[in-house]
Amino acid sequence: MSKRVMLIEDEPNIIEAISFILSREGLAVETHSDGTTANEKLRACRPDLLILDVMLPGKSGYDILRELREDTATAELPVLMLTARGQSRDREMAERAGVSAFMTKPFSNAEMLETVRALVAGGA
């Protein structure tokens, strides 16, 4: 059974790019673009990896991450965070919220793939 990756991102072109890359790798990709309903979606979906954008409509990526770390069901979920605001402060906030990996947009596809592989393997 293929590993499932959930992508929470609001930019359609980026969703399309990441979905394309990950499905080529044989991963099942589920996408969601609204911040407010993200956590419910997560609990229902129970993915093996979460790729999370920071700037989302309704709720920020940090808040979503903090909330899912408090939930026992998702406390151990590997999370890769993507941000377009490439400041060191963002990385610190992400780490404090309990992120597993952190990448700045734009990213190299190969690097992204490597990170996803490592996270999916570690979590398995």
Binding site: E11, N13, I14, A17, P57, G86, P106, F107, S108, A110
Partner: protein, 893 residues
């Protein structure tokens, strides 16, 4: 000759008697038994120096020449004492609280201690008093002559007599007046002798009067009959001259240096004025009681051409009553001597204090302080001044020829000293009176008096050329000394009094109003005018323990309890005393003053110690010094306060600037972060898809084409974003240059709708417009305005969520031009309405590719065009209102 010798002997014996009285009085005063010496009666009698030989002899002469006019000379002072006692009371209080020594001192002290004024008043007093002294010499000489008829014949010998009299009087005064140097210029002995002389002259005049009425006229009824029958009864009273003379004698009574001496300087109890206010008029009344009977009897009994000024002597002599004549002579002698003595004392005080001492201190004394040396100098100056003053009188007597009637000489003198009156009264009642005013008034009045009265009194040709008197100086007719400004036919005396006092008062008031008094002058002015509020009765301290205790209390207040106790204890130990309180020795007082000076300033310390130890009142200089110190401290603390306020202000400004910088920094961070996000997002897609295209094999042509167009779209999005950013930056910095053109609003809207229609969603939006209302000519930057419209239409296309999107464009031209863009969507939430015009604000969740700069740019543009753009709530859908000012809409063509 025998008679003359007798007279000389009598005079000498009388002088010795007076000297004994004065000596005894001073001894008694030294022993502290001065109470009876300083009774109100003695004070009242001492005032009788007002009645000189002029009044003693001259009143009868005056009665013969001008009827009852002599009464005015008595009525003036009576008026002052009964009606103007409040002026006297104020003068006395000021004299005491300010330690005034003379009229000159009073004027000088009031006007800021001006020595120039003091010298001026001194000169005025000396010049004004000189004729008066001459008058006394003349009367004594004349009275000698009466007794020595036949012995003294020639004018030369007459002058000798006057010289001897003058020398005798000078010696007498030197011995009396300068026996010692009294600190407060009081002369107990002299005052007592004057009082005795007052009794002698009153007794003499009354004796002659009684002799005339009861001895020669057969009682009162006989005397009255004689008066009715004589030419005296027929005299008409000249109202103007009466009033003038009365005012003049009243003014002179206030200003005469000798009266001031006994009235103010020698006064040691204000309440004595109360007795004097009725007793002195009574005395004057008694003095004038028998004047008319003596005159009438004299006219009747003595040969035609007899000098009426000497009737008081000649009437008893002609009847063979030598004893009565000698008594009468003694009365006249008393009148003359008392006047000369007190006048010389008063003048010498002025001359030595205001002329000699300042000169001596400047040229000879160098740094001399108060010491034995100076005392000698002062005494010497006084003595020489006395001799000088009396000799001046003698000189006047010789120059004026000794022939003028007694009364007229006296009036010249009165008019002279009366010049002080405006400065004196103004000084004690008007705070606005200034030094310049006093100086101007005195100079004008004195000059006018000298020119119109004093110099002419020597007779034409002595000082003033005869041609001046008749034709005016240098032929200037209206400047004739006895007819100033062409006023002729006026009594010369009244003429002089009128003009001198008018010029004096006028100059005084005008110059006072025009000048601004110096600080010391203002302070003195306040002290003089408000003397009753400032001064209290003299205070005395008895018992040294009380002093030490008071010093301790004061020192504790200033130095603090511990330091003060230490200081006092150390001193007590040094003095070998038990306890805490040392003797207030001069050494200790000096130490204490120095200690206090460290805290409160030297002048304040001196004043405080002085007040406790000396019981003395604080002098004006002390007060000024205290005020200076206080002012310095206040200035210093005000400066400190200003500095600390300045500091606080600077700190507040710094804080504010800091807050602003922090806010700016946060804003800048947020902005950079936003830009970064907006740039990185399309770049992420571009990079991801370009890598996919590069690295992936087996992509379908459809996939390749789709990914390439994504890259293309995102590149365009990036470009647009950069354009917007640059545009906004230019607009915000105000570097934009507007390209003003004229055009129709409908054309601008057409272009905007067409441009927005190029958008791929174009087909779906229906736009409702009002063709008629749009026919407005504009004169503005049409391209920029169009940019705003395009933005608004495009936004509607992107964000209007209605099934059948519709946009209505309403135009309304009133005092301004409004263009509303209203769609039929769900509108914008109230919270979002506040921020939509901010940079990077995006309302819709729906992704529409905007960076959130559009409305921010629109607002900037509208503000540049002089209008505005705002959200219009309550229209159902989203509604924006563009406002343009009326002046860019031009009249429809």
């Amino acid at each position: 000759m025998t008679m003359l010798n007798t007279l000389v002997a009598v005079c000498s014996a009388y002088a010795l008697f007076l000297f004994a009285v004065a000596f005894g009085a001073e001894r008694a005063a030294l022993r502290g038994q001065a109470t009876w010496l300083r009774s109100p009666m003695v004070y009242t009698l001492s005032l009788s120096i007002y009645c000189t030989a002029w009044t003693f002899y001259g009143a009868v002469g005056s009665a013969v020449r001008t009827g009852f006019e002599y009464l005015t000379i008595y009525l003036g002072p009576s008026l002052v004492l009964m009606g103007w006692w409040w002026i006297l009371r104020k003068l006395v209080r000021i004299g005491r609280s300010q330690r005034i020594t003379s009229v000159a001192d009073l004027i000088s002290s009031r006007y800021g201690k001006s020595n120039l004024l003091a010298v001026g008043v001194t000169i005025l007093a000396v010049v004004g008093t000189t004729p008066y002294i001459a008058l006394q010499l003349q009367s004594v000489t004349l009275s000698f002559e009466v007794f020595g008829v036949g012995d003294i014949a020639t004018g030369e010998e007459k002058g000798h007599t006057a010289l001897w009299v003058a020398a005798g009087l000078a010696l007498f005064t030197v011995i009396f007046g300068t026996r010692n140097l009294d600190a407060n210029e009081r002369h107990n002995g002299v005052v007592m002798a004057i009082a005795v002389e007052a009794v002698v002259k009153l007794a003499a005049l009354l004796a002659v009067g009684i002799f005339v009425v009861w001895g020669l006229s057969g009682g009162i009824s006989g005397a009255l009959e004689k008066i009715d029958g004589s030419p005296l009864g027929q005299w008409q009273i000249d109202g103007g001259r009466w009033a003038g003379l009365m005012m003049l004698s009243a003014a002179a009574f206030l200003c005469l240096p000798r009266i001031f001496q006994v009235l103010v300087v020698e006064n040691d109890n204000e309440t004595h004025l109360r007795t004097a206010s009725w007793a002195f008029p009574l005395y004057l009344g008694l003095m004038s009681l028998f004047v008319v009977p003596i005159a009438v009897v004299g006219l009747e009994m003595l040969p035609e051409g007899s000098n009426p000024d000497l009737f008081v002597l000649t009437v008893p002599l002609s009847q063979g009553h030598d004893g009565l004549a000698v008594l009468s002579f003694l009365g006249g002698f008393s009148s003359a001597t008392s006047m000369v003595i007190v006048a010389a004392i008063a003048l010498s005080t002025m001359v030595s204090n205001h002329v000699v001492m300042p000169l001596w201190l400047r040229f000879a004394g160098g740094g001399a302080k108060v010491s034995g040396d100076v005392r000698h100098v002062v005494l010497l100056a006084r003595r020489l001044s006395i001799i000088g003053v009396v000799m001046l009188g003698y000189l006047y007597y010789r120059l004026s020829g000794g022939g003028a009637a007694l009364a007229s000489i006296g009036l010249v003198s009165f008019a002279g000293v009366a010049q002080v009156l405006p400065a004196m009264l103004g000084g004690i009642f008007w705070r606005g009176a200034s030094r310049l005013g006093a100086l101007t008034g005195l100079t004008l009045g004195f000059g006018c008096w000298g020119y119109t009265l004093f110099l002419p009194s020597f007779g034409a040709g002595v000082f003033l050329p005869e041609s001046w008197v008749t034709g005016g100086p240098f032929g200037i007719f209206w400047l004739r000394p006895q007819a100033l400004f062409g006023i002729e036919g006026m009594d010369p005396l009244l003429h002089a009094v009128f003009w001198s006092l008018v010029l004096n008062t006028g100059g005084f008031v005008l110059a006072s109003l025009a000048s601004f008094p110096a600080p010391l002058e203002r302070l003195q002015g306040a002290q003089f005018v408000n003397v009753f509020e400032h001064s209290t009765g003299p205070r005395s301290w008895t018992g040294k323990v009380a002093q030490a205790e008071d010093l301790m209390v004061m020192a504790q207040r200033i130095l603090g309890a511990r330091d003060a106790q230490l200081l006092f204890e150390r001193e007590a130990q040094r003095q070998g005393k038990h306890g805490m309180l040392p003797e207030p020795t001069p050494d200790f007082l000096e130490t204490l003053e120095r200690e206090l000076a460290g805290s409160v300033g030297a002048a304040t310390a001196h004043a405080m110690v002085g007040q406790i130890v000396g019981g003395m009142s604080v002098s004006v200089e002390d007060l000024m010094a205290v005020a200076d110190e206080t002012a310095q401290m206040m200035e210093y603390s005000a400066r400190l306060e200003a500095q600390s306020q300045e500091l606080a202000r600077t700190a507040a400004q710094l804080r504010e600037a800091n807050t602003k910088l922090t806010r700016l920094s946060v804003q800048k961070d947020a902005f950079l972060s936003q830009i970064s996000h907006e740039l990185r997002t399309p770049m992420t897609s571009i990079r991801a898809f370009s890598e996919i295209l590069r690295d992936s094999t087996g992509l379908s042509p459809a996939e390749q084409s789709k990914y390439a167009s994504i890259i293309h779209d995102e590149a365009i999005r990036l470009t647009r974003l950069l354009d917007d950013l640059l545009d906004l930056s230019v607009l915000e910095n105000g570097q934009v240059s507007l390209n003003l053109r004229e055009g129709l609003l409908s054309d601008v809207l057409d272009r905007a709708v067409a441009a927005a229609a190029a958008d791929e969603h174009g087909a779906r939006l229906r736009i409702a417009r009002d063709a008629v209302a749009e026919q407005v000519w504009l004169n503005t930057d049409l391209d920029r305005l169009s940019q705003v419209f395009i933005n608004l239409v495009a936004n509607t296309r992107k964000y209007c969520d209605a099934a059948m999107p519709e946009l209505e464009i309403r135009v309304c031209a009133s005092d301004r031009l409004t263009i509303d863009f209203v769609d039929n969507g769900s509108g914008i939430s109230p919270e979002a309405q506040d921020v939509i015009f901010e940079k990077f604000s995006r309302v819709s969740d729906q992704k529409a590719g905007g960076a959130g700069l559009g409305l921010a740019i629109c607002r900037q543009i509208m503000r540049r065009l002089g209008g505005d753009i705002s959200y219009l709530p309550g229209q159902g859908g989203a509604a924006f209102r563009v406002v343009l000012p009326a002046d860019i809409a031009v009249a429809a063509q």
